[in-house]
Amino acid sequence: MTAWSSGEMVDVARIMEELRARVAERRASGFYSEEEIERIARMELDIQEALPGYRDDLDHHLAILNDTWDTKTEAAITSHRRLVGPLIVAVKKLFRRLTAPYINMVLVQQVEFNSALVRLLNSFAPQVRDHLQGLAHDLSELEERQASSYLELRGQIREMTLALERFKQALSTQAGHLERVRGRALSDLPKVEPPPGTGELTAREYLAFEDLHRGSREEIRERQRVYLSDFSMGPVLDVGCGRGEFLELLLEAGTEARGIDLNGQMVRACRERGLDATEAEALAYLSRLPDRSLGGIFCSQMIEHLESRALVALVQLAFAKLKSEGTFVAETLNPACLTIFSGAFYLDLTHIKPIHPQAAIFLLEAAGFGGVTVRYVNPYPEKMKLQLLEPAWAKRRFEAPLVEALNDMIRQLNDVLYTYQDYAVIGRKP
């Protein structure tokens, strides 16, 4: 018995060898019954198998039932007391013999019932197991089919995307062609001059338009409040001051401010509120001011009303007229938000050209401004954006990747269609 523990250390490998040989011997001699081995063999140390749990539990409980259904089996009567033990055992056995007939009257029926029930369960168990295995198999087949149809769908989407790309290219070629034809046709046309007294909007008409579409005074005040902190010193000139919302904000903040506007009606409306406003054209007005005389220049929704050359001139003049550390802020529509072209931009007949944020940065930097930044404002409300899709709960495993791919596209569309509607370019004179 101690051969394997000779010396200091126990030879574990050798013990195991002997132990396994003994097991093999006992198996061969029928010490472990066939059913026992089969039942034990099913309890493999396999974690993957063990995870779902139902199989192990089923076999385990069934084994216990098969072990215990015969409630009539009598337990052996023993006693561990050395002297009085045999006497106690004899009395207990006598008592059992006297009571057994009456107890068995009840137990016989119970045992019959138990055995019928256990037989029924035993006959069901393999079917349930097979059925569960079949279901698992069906499920994995179904998964495979879903996976392949998912791949197919992905392929189709890819093809459609490519076709769209080709269509877009063809369209752009056609557009270039049309543009050239239109150019030629236009140059061939006689120049149309509107008759005197037509072709211009009156100031009153534009004020009414602005009241209708630009938003209430309160809304504009709230929207422009974000720029207050950009102006640390006066005087600030609001170019295109409109109804004077920002002039009011500046005065309330204690900063000296005055405004100019082309529209006499707007200027009158400002003066009625006690604001310092002048009817003037921006470039002419600015060029008359002494150099380095302004603390800040603010143009809200104004630069999109200018031709390119006029815009360049405005920025250059602004730079010349600002004091050192003076700020230039120009807010305009954001052309990187494509829906402005179905709304805000073309709604106003006097808009000439949208200005891209990168172009605006370039303009300011070219004029000499430092630390030029862009601030995006007026985001589309979330609920107006294209909404993301949710996979149906029951099919989420298969739909989730497809829905995620579609949602990526929706996010991309939201980024070009429903992003910030305006931006401001901000520069400081060094």
Partner: protein, 387 residues
Amino acid sequence: MIPWFGKDARGGAESECRWTAVNLARRGATVEILTTCARGHAFEWADYYDAGVVQEDGLVVRRFPVRSRDAGLFSELNRRLLWGRVLTSAEEERFVQESIHSDALYEFIEAHRQEYWFLFIPYLFGTTLNGTMVAPERSFVIPCLHDEGYAYLAPVRRMLTTARGILFHAEAERELARKIAGSAGEHFHLVGEGVSSDISGDGTRFRRRYGVQEPFLLFVGRKDRLKNTHLLVEYFSTYRVSHPASRLKLVLIGEGRVPLPGRLHGEILDLGVLATQDIYDAYTAALVLCQPSRLESFSLVLMEGWLCGTPALVYEGCAVTREHCVASGGGLYFSDYIEFQECVDLLWTDEKLRRKMAEGGRRYVLREFNWDRVCRNYFDVLINAEA
């Protein structure tokens, strides 16, 4: 560098991190703990502690804020991995990216790469998988590697091959890494894990306090399927049903729950989480410490059991625990129920064998895993890297 550090961060790697740092510092190294503000594995992986520097156990602990993550997606991918499904490479990346991360921590590593050697523990968290990529030439990983689905993820393989060195607890763990990385691993070093030798138990105190008079098999650790606790309960139940005269009980200690067969009520005792000294007492009182887990990179429980004078019974399929048993002569192993039964019968009847095995195990722990030796292994690796 560990994902979480503090009193609520329980587990093998967490405790190894703390004691390795303390012991290296005692032997003259300057050691700091880099970690996130998260509380622990069992809690939400979000900021719990304040970011900044504190002193704990005489160590400087630097905590960095956690990056926000998609916990839902992570759990879904984790569930699929646990069920043995294969992930696409994009999903594997997402699994890693939605694990725990700290950008401030990565910036710290980048900024101080020349000043530290970075030792990451354990392998399966974003902070380790991404952190080692920030300064791979200055990074070592103590992976605590198990043969599980996670170990075969591509980012794990990348980490094993890119880091400056990988430090292992046992030869079997290093073999597994070689298999996963598909390389001989010139930079794979065996350092072991330190075990405090000054522990002892009082079996009588345990029997009195918990009312267990009969001989018992002991399980210590988290009770779940990955640790094979369910199987131990099943085998023990079968053993008791087929040995009606046996008085042997099974005592379970640790977190988690395992379903117990009602028929053996009172024969299997689940004591839940106990104080450390009570666990040592339980080791001493036990007939055999049973460690059926197949996912161990070291198994501190086995070492503690030997130090407290108890032989072990482990699962043959776990190369690490089997290697410990063979090398120490401190335990037997089984691969199926019949072997389990034979091992229990043998240990039950042969007290002399039990005593010799426990002694062999104790000598093995004191020889191989004393802190002086383990720290010297660490210093050797780092000095070689410096040279």
